[in-house]
Subunit: 99 residues, 2 copies
């Protein structure tokens, strides 16, 4: 999970399957290129599954796998930490004087 | 925490203050340059404190701040996830066929 977008995209899929366009709108601030790369990486790691529906044109959806769902706990723990302590981190950054 | 070394170094400081040399030995596989940059970044974010002892030569130790200690929980959650599911991720990588 070295890439922050991995956690963002897994978290954004917590409520169920999403088409890329809707996923991008819900995340906000992610480019199509970065979202596509992230989804491909998550698929490669078995955290996300890609479904293609034989419609005209074909419909593509992404969904968390069981493995992906199991990651929601640790991601939530980090998210809660960031929400609780973000201000303290920024205050430390303001005070910082290089040694 | 986008940089994985951040979590590794915070975790390595969980048992108390460490001098850089010992920290590097205990982590293993991190260069002096990367460790120094990581410690500087953690200091900047208020997660680590740097102590200099007026000895000849001066002794330098790094220690988790309270903010740094509060991050051990989420890091442990991720570590446990990786330990529990690492094999599943690697199995998925073996099965992966690009769309």
């Amino acid at each position: 999970m070295a890439n922050t977008w991995n956690a963002v995209v897994v978290w954004a899929l917590r409520h169920g399957p999403r088409r890329p366009g809707r996923l991008r709108a819900e995340i906000g601030g992610i480019s199509t290129k970065v979202l596509t790369e992230t989804l491909r990486r998550l698929e490669y790691n078995g955290l996300v599954a890609r479904r293609v529906y034989a419609e005209a044109p074909p419909r593509v959806e992404y969904e968390l796998t069981g493995l992906g769902r199991s990651l929601l706990g640790p991601i939530e723990a980090f998210g809660a930490w960031a929400a609780d302590h973000g201000d303290e981190v920024m205050a430390a950054q303001d005070r910082y004087e290089p040694a």
